[in-house]
Point group: C2
Chain length 367, copies 2
């Protein structure tokens, strides 16, 4: 494997000193920002995440701030989800689409003040899309990247660790609940959320002043909980069916293809720029959709789409993410598959860069 070459263009984060001190082994780049990929190894990190608690530098989830009288109307142009019932004490998962209904990003939106929102983005420069529309329509709204960096606390012991630092109250946050905690005199937004299904929180750290102190305080408070530096883990996220924009969904897929049809509402479609395109799809069943696929044996690294064919060789889709699962003793995979092969236990062939393997469609993801 090759090294990653440092440059200013691939941005460090306020937590980079902590990540480096913890001995990061590999990075990926996400929103032009460094994101750790593993520390000890993918499998050792995975085993630890499922039992203990980890601190993740996910500053690469950049916060696009929309602020101004037209902020809410602008947001509604971007998504087929009706934002009429968006609450200030909840995160909101908001698939965003282009005029063809193609997925541009699948951010979480935080309502952090009157006419003020943070759009916590997956891996695409969604700000440019939002700014382009706001500029062309002369909307009264400022669109910029906030100086805010999420730090995730993930794992079954996340409640215990957070309670030590912030008191028991934070552990009463419901899933996707949004609140605030105070650290060294600064109020920080905190949500029960994160890119694993092991439970946990994301703390949105504004500015640099408290970033490394917070990292250090969490590490110190969790020493006997076996807290470690970690990062989103490919094995765990595939087991959990957590989709990754750029891997499992792209601009070529609509929310229906991505299994996100429940976030498409008639009230949203009426105002969304992709409304007309998606309304047509609403009337037909989707032709392809993301499905879990179990593959027998170890596979090479899934660094490209793997074609999926039937046992008679007909192309029926592609695998977009895959990893060997130590717990389930098979390769767990996310695949975009044609409707004809959705039935659980359908046997398929997966064509990797190193040869083909046998796969079987599952009804549900593993976690």
């Amino acid at each position: 494997m090759a090294l990653i070459a440092p440059s200013k263009r691939v941005r460090r984060t306020p937590f980079s000193p902590g990540v480096e001190a913890a001995g990061v082994s590999a990075y990926t780049v996400y929103n032009r920002t460094l994101l750790p990929a593993y520390f000890q190894s993918l499998e050792a990190d995975y085993a630890h995440l499922k039992r203990h608690v980890q601190i993740w530098d996910v500053a690469c989830e950049r916060q696009i701030e929309l602020c101004g009288p037209d902020a809410r109307a602008l947001l509604q142009l971007l998504t087929p989800r009706d934002l009429g019932n968006m609450r200030t004490d909840r995160c909101f998962y908001v698939p965003m689409v282009d005029a063809s209904g193609g997925m541009l990003n699948d951010p979480v939106v935080l309502s952090i003040g009157p006419d003020r929102f943070w759009v916590s983005i997956a891996d695409s420069d969604l700000m440019l899309w939002i700014k382009g529309i706001a500029t062309a329509l002369h909307m009264n709204v400022s669109v910029h990247e906030a100086n805010a960096a999420p730090l995730a606390v993930q794992g079954p012991r996340a409640n215990a660790l957070m309670a030590r630092l912030f008191g028991e109250a934070v552990t009463t946050l419901p899933f996707f609940g949004l609140g605030q905690v105070r650290f060294e005199g600064q109020d920080l937004w905190v949500a029960r959320s994160g890119f694993s299904k092991q439970g946990g929180f994301e703390i949105y750290v504004e500015g640099d002043r408290v970033a490394m102190p917070l990292w250090g305080a969490l590490m110190a408070a969790g020493a006997d909980l076996e807290v470690r530096a970690g990062c989103p883990n490919t094995i765990e996220r595939v087991e959990s069916g957590l989709l990754s924009y750029g891997n499992d969904m792209t601009m070529a897929d609509t929310p229906f293809h991505c299994g996100l049809g429940r976030f498409v509402n008639m009230a949203g479609l009426d105002r969304c720029l992709g409304g007309d395109a998606l309304r047509k799809e609403l009337q037909a069943d989707p032709t392809r959709m993301i499905r879990p696929l179990a593959i027998q044996g170890h596979m090479p690294t899934c660094d490209r789409a793997w074609p999926v064919v039937t046992e008679t060789g007909d192309p029926v889709g592609q695998v977009t993410s895959a990893a060997w699962s130590p717990d389930f003793k098979e390769t767990v995979a996310i695949a975009m598959l044609d409707r004809a092969v959705w039935a659980p236990d359908t046997r398929l062939r997966v064509q990797t860069q190193d040869g083909s393997a046998e796969g079987s469609v599952r009804d549900t993801f593993w976690n």
Copy 2:
């Protein structure tokens, strides 16, 4: 140094098999695509580039295709450069700005047919900005990423190598001239351009069919010219003053700050979305600008902005790219500096992550 973790999201290119076979040592990520950073070492690659000829996988320079009756009008909204005299036999360097005049990208535009353009982008998802504007204004234009991957042939022996494969005619292309060559039955756009000042070409390869055959043919034809796989080289590009979007310029900088004022025309400003903002700047002299800076001795890797201060400690700018130059025996750097310190030989202090060093403003870049 850490490894780079492969995933589908960080895209491979049609030339990746060639890059891997040539023993790439480090990558960066550019437009969510793998870009080699060095093969042997930064310094060995540099010495070779300046004497021989290299083949570069620069597929990460994605081609955003604008096609349709409104394509030219849309392009003119994006840039303060007047596109009225854009020719079909020339590449066109087109700084693109937001409504505040901030740089969003500095692509090269190729006019490849009636109402059909390729915008060959630097590192930002400029397509989302263009699509956002086209969508909001209901323009009659298609905006999408073309399936086209540039392959660069760079170095003093580039003419010799290209002539062997395509005949002498290609060597008569002037700088930024645009033409076509034919390879295995396919016509390919070719320009005299590239991200070095050692001379050379960029060949725009559509589809996958001829990509690796072309790579192989160039390698075979250039064996006695000591052809090698290479990539944009940080040392050479800093010596040459070739600016890198994301490193040396960002959305916070206008074309004037980037020394690109000569691409701002009154006719362009009249139609550009950033016209009003830039017209104001046109009347005043820029307060800061990119300057070459020589630093004594070896520096750490420039993976973040380095503050620059006067000898009395006043902040006057930042270094955005730097590398030790074996030829000039000093660290060559690109800095964004306040007007007060532009005079050649002004002595400044550069604050790196490992301590400070002495720098001196230069009148011109090194190459």
